[in-house]
């Protein structure tokens, strides 16, 4: 590690270390190299996106006019948003219970709680298919209007996402100094005030990490979604896998690129709008 410090860089200013910056940039480059390829291919005239044949915007025009593709994208995003919210709340509660309390069979409870992480996706997908079919929920959800017809998928996504949130938030809570909580109570704060003003801010990085994880898991899930979806709820991954037989077109790349660009632009705008002193949060 760098022992010679440059002027102005304190021993803990790791953010200013050149070696860390270089390493950081290198890993980011590796992470993004395939993504740039994917973006480049969204401008490719080749239908299969294997060989570069020429530049075009056609794929964007086609994606823009492809109502099915947009519907699938909208379904996926809706499912991911709702599942993330529910999963983050449930997961945090489980994390809090595991962190705060001793109770009988706790080790077993923790083990069971991590089963959705362990279980092979297809096993969970099939078991939910059997459950929803036998409980009549499969046929029942079909009669609902959008977005309520996504209910089975959302239930399934929450079920496999929230243990991930729980485990991430829990690992964050381990570092909590209980004296802060006691100090808060000594100063006259109620249980609820303490929770809201002391514990939640401390949990925040864990909550954000957990929520991002849940969103990522939900957005990209194919197997469980496939087995829990009704006849009218095509999601983006289901569409993509179904395209494999006939060839995944660069339209999909165009749609994915649009998703990335929109997310980045929205985030940058949100950051600009935030007051500078708040922007560090999270």
């Amino acid at each position: 590690m760098a022992q010679t410090l440059k002027p102005g860089s304190g021993p803990l200013d790791y953010g200013n270390r050149t070696w860390l910056k270089i390493l950081f940039a290198a890993i980011f480059f590796a992470l993004y190299a395939p993504i740039f390829t994917l973006i480049a291919f969204s401008f490719n005239t080749d239908k299969r996106g294997v060989v570069w044949r020429g530049f075009t915007f056609d794929n964007y025009v086609k994606a823009w006019n492809n109502a099915d593709l947009q519907e699938a994208m909208l379904n996926s995003l809706t499912i991911a948003f709702i599942s993330t919210i529910i999963a983050t709340i449930l997961g945090s509660m489980v994390a809090l219970v595991l962190w705060r309390f001793r109770f009988p069979f706790k080790a077993g409870y923790e083990g069971v709680m991590s089963l959705p992480i362990v279980i092979p996706e297809i096993c969970m997908g099939v078991s939910l298919l059997l459950f929803f079919t036998n409980a009549g929920m499969m046929a029942w959800s079909v009669s609902f209007v959008w977005p309520f017809n996504l209910i089975n998928i959302i239930i399934a996504h929450v079920a496999f996402c929230f243990p991930f949130v729980a485990i991430v938030v829990r690992s964050r809570l381990v570092g909590f100094n209980r004296q802060l909580e006691e100090a808060s109570k000594d100063l006259g704060a109620s249980e609820w005030q303490t929770f809201w003003n002391v514990i939640v801010p401390f949990m925040m990085p864990g909550l954000i990490a957990g929520a991002l994880l849940a969103f990522t898991l939900s957005l990209d899930d194919f197997v469980i979604t496939y087995f829990t979806s009704g006849p009218e709820t095509v999601t983006f991954p289901v569409k993509v896998y179904s395209l494999v037989r006939r060839g995944v077109s660069p339209e999909i790349n165009a749609a994915s690129t649009a998703l990335i660009v929109i997310t980045v632009v929205a985030t940058v705008l949100a950051m600009k709008l935030q007051a500078p002193d708040k922007s560090g949060k999270g």
Partner: protein, 284 residues
């Protein structure tokens, strides 16, 4: 840590919703397949519960044990590589200027919002024999190398797939790491290296352990990455399980394999929780 009896109202409020969801939408559905794993197939679509252990015994056939062993070491290597790459990333984000943090965090996660299959295709485009990496290597007179369709490619692919599962828990623990500990260590004459291994690493251990669990276990069950990036003998246990539920139409055996995987991991996790609850302080 309090006993649940200290504040039963808070305990039940926090305990009930997640447990309810897990029981109703995970354990009960899983019951069907658990039941199936002790059943015999009696027709194309039906199984009959006979209490048989044949499905479990079949899993101990040499061919499946070979595949399981292979899955374990590939997952272990991928998890280790994931940790080595994710730690600097998480560390870098946590020590970056505050205003950059949200964007950096998002940028790390963003690639994983792209469909896995599309991402894998992109990975193939980079690494294939006439791909971009070989093109660049060609400029400096190297290659082309055959980089895909071997175990190494599967490992790289798995690292690429499960990176966020490692970065996010690490971020959650490194962020707001109590820096006074690091300062104390440096003030007391510890070198940066010593501080890292003696202070930073132990303090972030909960995140590391979580990350390892979240990467290693899903790696074990992965099937798309080995199928797309692996060579002729890339098969992993996830592929075998998938095959039982699909082409082989043998749900009892597929269930038995899945449950074996679960028993082992469940045992390991419960053991860890049990040991952690006995050793005081370091409770991960």
């Amino acid at each position: 840590m309090d006993s649940w009896k200290v504040n039963p109202r808070v305990f039940w409020t926090l305990f009930t919703p997640g447990t309810f969801w897990l029981v109703l939408f995970f354990l009960i559905p899983l019951g069907w397949l658990f039941h199936d794993s002790f059943s015999d197939k009696i027709s194309i679509t039906e199984t009959q519960f006979t209490g048989t252990l044949a499905n479990y015994i079949r899993a101990f056939d040499a061919v499946y044990l070979t595949i399981i062993w292979k899955s374990v070491w590939i997952s272990a290597v991928a998890t280790a590589l994931c940790l080595l790459t994710a730690y600097p990333i998480a560390f870098g984000i946590c020590f970056a200027p505050a205003k950059w943090k949200p964007l950096l965090l998002l940028l790390v996660i963003l690639p994983f919002w792209i469909n896995l299959l599309i991402r894998t295709y992109a990975l193939i485009a980079v690494f294939r024999t006439q791909g971009y990496l070989n093109l660049v290597l060609g400029w400096v007179g190297l290659g082309p190398y055959e980089m895909l369709y071997n175990d190494g490619a599967v490992i790289v692919g798995l690292v690429y797939v499960y990176m966020p599962f490692m970065v996010l828990p690490l971020y959650a623990t490194i962020e707001r790491l109590d820096r006074s500990f690091l300062e104390a260590s440096l003030d007391l004459g510890g070198s940066q290296v010593q501080t890292f291994f003696k202070v930073t690493l132990p303090l972030t251990m909960p995140g590391i352990v979580t990350g390892i669990i979240l990467v290693f276990i899903p790696c074990l069950g992965s099937f798309l990455t080995p199928a797309m990036l692996g060579g002729a003998n890339a098969i992993m246990i996830g592929n075998v399980i998938e095959d039982q539920f699909k082409a082989a139409n043998d749900w009892p055996f597929g269930s038995a394999l899945s449950f074996l995987l679960m028993y082992v991991t469940f045992g390991a996790l419960a053991l860890r929780a049990f040991l952690a609850s006995r050793s005081k302080g370091v409770d991960v």
